[in-house]
Amino acid sequence: DVKVTQSSRYLVKRTGEKVFLECVQDMDHENMFWYRQDPGLGLRLIYFSYDVKMKEKGDIPEGYSVSREKKERFSLILESASTNQTSMYLCASSSRDRVYEQYFGPGTRLTVT
């Protein structure tokens, strides 16, 4: 069975903290994605990666960075968390041969106080 896992379901952090959200997939997928989900806005793409150490900005990259040191793991980093980054974060992955099949993780609900 295809699996995308995220390190935490719920996370509470303070303003100014450095936050790491981890995503792991076990399908040997080349492509990995980070989205944030907000009510009334749907999901918006933050960053994606198409290979190890490769990354590209999505639609809302400001305030975020990413790291992909291994094929199966894609990390989203909030360098200095702010309250407007309180959101649901979803990770997804796909293979280069079937780009139309993106598999999603369960999401991390991040609250920044």
Binding site: F33, G40, G42, L43, F48, Y50, A92
Partner: protein
């Protein structure tokens, strides 16, 4: 830039009845995919149905079917014989695919705002 619009924030339906969720999109691309995703209260997003833009025939998956009107840029989802387990947030999404510098492909999804569907017993 691509945009996807779902104009119905919330919908409700009685069990066993049929409901249609609306979606419109805007793009200048000719080749793309359209999707409906379901996100139940447990939050794991799952694919309901996919439509390739070059196919005229509407996609169907059991009780789920779409009405794809390419000229009108409309992509609605019909759920027949609604079940309690259909209660979820439904997202319409659009994908174009691209090629990176290394020559490999990826697909970028653009989502609509979502429609909360509640199925009543």
């Amino acid at each position: 830039a691509q945009t996807v619009t779902q104009s119905q924030p919330e919908m409700s339906v009685q069990e066993a009845e049929t409901v249609t969720l609306s979606c419109t999109y805007d793009t200048s691309e000719n080749n793309y995919y359209l999707f409906w995703y379901k996100q139940p209260p447990s939050r794991q997003m799952i694919l309901v149905i996919r439509q390739e833009a070059y196919k005229q025939q509407n996609a169907t998956e059991n009780r789920f079917s779409v009405n794809f009107q390419k000229a009108a840029k409309s992509f609605s989802l019909k759920i027949s014989d609604s079940q309690l387990g259909d209660t979820a947030m439904y997202f319409c999404a659009f994908m174009i695919w691209g090629w990176n510098a290394g020559g490999t492909s990826y697909g970028k999804l653009t989502f609509g705002q979502g429609t909360i569907l509640t199925v009543h017993p």
